[in-house]
Subunit: 170 residues, 2 copies
Amino acid sequence: MPSKPPPPITMDAVYAAPGYLFRRMQQIAVSIFMEECKAFDLTPVQYGALIAIHTHPGIDATRLSAVIAFDRSTLGSVIERLQAKDYIERKPAPEDKRIKLLYLTKSGAAILREIIPAVERAQARMLEPLKPADRKTLMGLLVQLVDLNNEVSRVPLRAEDALEHLGKGG
Amino acid sequence: MPSKPPPPITMDAVYAAPGYLFRRMQQIAVSIFMEECKAFDLTPVQYGALIAIHTHPGIDATRLSAVIAFDRSTLGSVIERLQAKDYIERKPAPEDKRIKLLYLTKSGAAILREIIPAVERAQARMLEPLKPADRKTLMGLLVQLVDLNNEVSRVPLRAEDALEHLGKGG
DNA sequence: TGTTGATTGACAGTATACTGACGATCTAGG
DNA sequence: CCTAGATCGTCAGTATACTGTCAATCAACA
C-alpha cells in the first residue's frame, strides 16, 4: 500500500502560514510606530513599560514583566535605557533587599503625555487599510487568540494577580 | 473655550493596541514553532529561508530578502548559520563577482522534507483555540492587512518580480 | 572610454527576545 | 536558629531586526 506522495514545496508554505503573517505584521507595526513617534526616541517596548510603571508606581521588574508580558531578561536592559534617559528611577525596597522599585520621573510622565497622540495615530494607521467593520473583527479575534494562547508564551500575561503581593493588601 | 481634558492613562493603552497584540501573537507563534520543531534545530526564519532557496535555487541574498521580506542585514548571519549547519552552500556567480548564489545541500533538502509536518502542526496549533470559521476570517484579514501595508515595512515583499532579473529571461 | 551612480555583500551599533545559569536574599519547615 | 527551596536581579550566549556605512563591483551614459 503506497503512501500518499508529499505535496510539492511552494512559497505558500511560507506566505500562507499564520506564523509568517504574524511576523510580517509585527514588523510593519513597529515600523509605523517608529515613524509616527520618531520625535520622541521611544520604542514600542519602552512605551509599554512607561505606561505600566505609570499605572503601577513602585512596581518591581519581575511584576512589571508579568503585567506587560515582556521577557524578564530583556526587561533589564529596557529599564536601564529608560533610566539612562531619565524617564524612570529605581529605589531599593526597604523590606526586601532583592527588589528595586520603579517610578516615573517628571520627564517620564511628561513624555508619556506628549507621545500618546502619536502612538494613537500609529495604532490607527496599522489597521487603516481595512474597512472599519473588519478592523473590529480582526481586533476581536486577535484578543481572543492571544488570551487563549496566553500560557504558551514564556511570560504569560498576569495583569491583575501580579499586583496582589505588592503591598496593597493581600 | 477650555480644551477637552485628556483621558486617563490605563493599561488599555497597551492591551487594546493592535501593535501590542501583534507583538504578543508573534512571540506566541515563535514559541509554538520552536516547541514543535525542537528536534530539528531550525528557527522560523531559517525555515523560511530554506523554503525560498528550495523554490528558487541559485537565488542571491538580496533577492532572497525580497522574496521572504526579511531584512537584508540580518539575512547575512542567517545564511552563515545555515551554511555552518551544512544546509546550504554558496557559489560565486561567474558573471557578477559581487553575487553569491545560494543552493540547498542534500542535508538541507532532507531536513526540509522532514521538518514540514512539524511546521504544519505548529501553524495549526497557533490558530487551534479559535473556531474553524474564525480561523479563516482571521487569516483572510491578516493576509489583506499585510498586503495593503506591504510598502510600509523596510523590506517590502517582492515575490514575483524579484526573480525577473535572475537569468530566466528578462 | 572614463566617470557617475546603483547594487551587492559585509560590518558596526543599537534594541528586542529567549535559554540557562548565578549570587544575594527571602521564606518556610523543622 | 538554620537549612532547603523559592524569588530577585543580573549576566553570558544565541538569534532576529533595523540604521547607517563601506569597499568592491557593475551598468549606463556622456
